[in-house]
């Protein structure tokens, strides 16, 4: 399929390496248009871009929740776009946090955390419980272990969702606008947890509109527009006057 792109091995410092990735839903317009991108191991990459620019689609391609049309994605040294039907095995290694939390309403907080490790990874119950309580303490919501999702505020639900993602001990976590559905007063409690996580050495890919988070926690920043990558650079460069004109224009619009 992609003979020229998949022959060379990816750089050792890349957790994800995306090469010439194309994706379209209707065969007419590219939602992802020839994306080349390297996401560094242990680093936090923030993806910015206007609505409809393909950020969520790119994120879902990274863990094969979406099928790609052409191109290659490498993850942790192997080409995952060749793994197709075994996508669910790959997703044990890559967790995801959603805009609307997506906790399972029929399970308590604790059960939400333990269900995948137990059923998917085969972790022993006692071990899963131990880890769940540790992680709930880490996201500062230990006292809600026995509550059900509908009894929690949005911010609390999102912190539980982050703990649930961490339960899989993933190599990377993908965040898709994790604070966009939150009331303003709850954004901070979630971002604080994410900042801690970003500093912990796990590979994070964060789609967000929170420039403050990008400034605080990002190592690299990506700007997308119309299915293409407009700029990809270190945070210091991205937020300086060295950045491309389009980046500066975008940042200006965002701060209005």
């Amino acid at each position: 399929m992609t003979t020229s792109t998949s022959t060379s091995t990816p750089a050792a410092d890349a957790m994800f390496e995306v090469r010439k990735l194309n994706k379209s839903f209707d065969q007419q317009q590219w939602v992802l248009d020839d994306i080349d991108l390297k996401l560094l191991r242990g680093k936090t990459t923030v993806i910015l871009g206007p609505s409809g620019s393909g950020k969520s689609t790119l994120l879902r391609c990274l863990n094969l929740l979406e099928e790609v049309d052409s191109g290659a994605i490498w993850f942790d040294g192997r080409e995952i776009t060749k793994e197709g039907p075994r996508g669910h095995l790959l997703r044990r290694e890559i967790s995801m946090v959603f805009q609307h939390y997506e906790l399972f309403p029929h399970l308590s907080v604790l059960e939400n955390l333990m269900i995948a490790p137990i059923k998917v990874l085969g972790v022993a119950r006692e071990r899963a419980l131990e880890q769940a309580m540790e992680l709930l303490a880490k996201v500062r919501i230990r006292e809600k272990a026995d509550a059900y999702p509908e009894q929690l505020s949005g911010g609390q639900q999102q912190r539980v969702a982050i703990a649930r993602a961490l339960m899989m001990n993933p190599k990377a976590i993908l965040f898709d606008e994790p604070t966009s559905a939150l009331d303003p007063e709850m954004v901070k409690e979630v971002l604080d947890v994410m900042v801690e996580l970003a500093g912990s050495g796990i590979t994070c890919v964060v789609v967000t509109h929170e420039l403050g988070f990008a400034r605080r926690a990002a190592d690299r920043v990506v700007l997308m527009e119309g299915g293409r990558i407009v700029e990809e650079s270190a945070k210091e460069h991205f937020f300086s006057d060295q950045a491309s004109e389009r980046t500066q224009r975008f940042l200006q619009q965002m701060s209005h």
Partner: protein, 243 residues
Amino acid sequence: MSESLHLVLEYLLSPSFFNAALTTLALTVVSMLIGMLIGLPLALLQERRSVFVRLPVLLYLWLFRGTPVLLQIVFVFNVLPLFGVVLSGFASGVLALALNEGAYMAEIFRSGIQAVSPRQRLAGRALGMSSAQVMRLVVLPQALRTVVPPTGNQFMGMLKSSALVSVIAVQDLLLIADQTASANFRYIEALSAAAIYYLIFTTLFMVIQGYIERWVAPRRSSGRRSWSQRLISLTSAQPRSSQ
């Protein structure tokens, strides 16, 4: 008047009415349970993309929802023996009612499954679950909530449809009431006794449905269950009560 009441009471307690009531109850419950066992896989198969899987299912639904149950009962009873399959009246009745019910339960399960948001499935998949695990651990437990009330309706409907098997001489409530009455022309008393049994069963179903609805309702922690209890319930397939 009091003589009438006395006769109704006598019928209610008579072995023939009691056995007929048990027959009706057994017909209803067994047909419903088999109908649900048929309906669930039909609903799951309809989730598949392949036309070759979905087409036979649609054919089944079309056939059993498009013809009268009475016809299906008479058909099973009279046509299967021509192919060497001889079933008792009761078994024929159960077979026809269950096949018919399967078509309706398939629709109920399907709409229950579709009521679960696609984003919940995505969350399950993102946690590394296989499609089967997403269905079993995420979708079906949530679909249960929407499925219970219409299934309760189906139970009551089945209680009444079961009377149709009297045409193939199954000794159910209606047939016994009719036979008893035609012997002495006390129609009011015999039919009243049958009606009372039907109402008792309907009430029973309603009470059970109420319990089940509370059981699958959105959960709130009560604080009374220990973690170990929760862990046990997590690993068992059954949904558990919040009491």
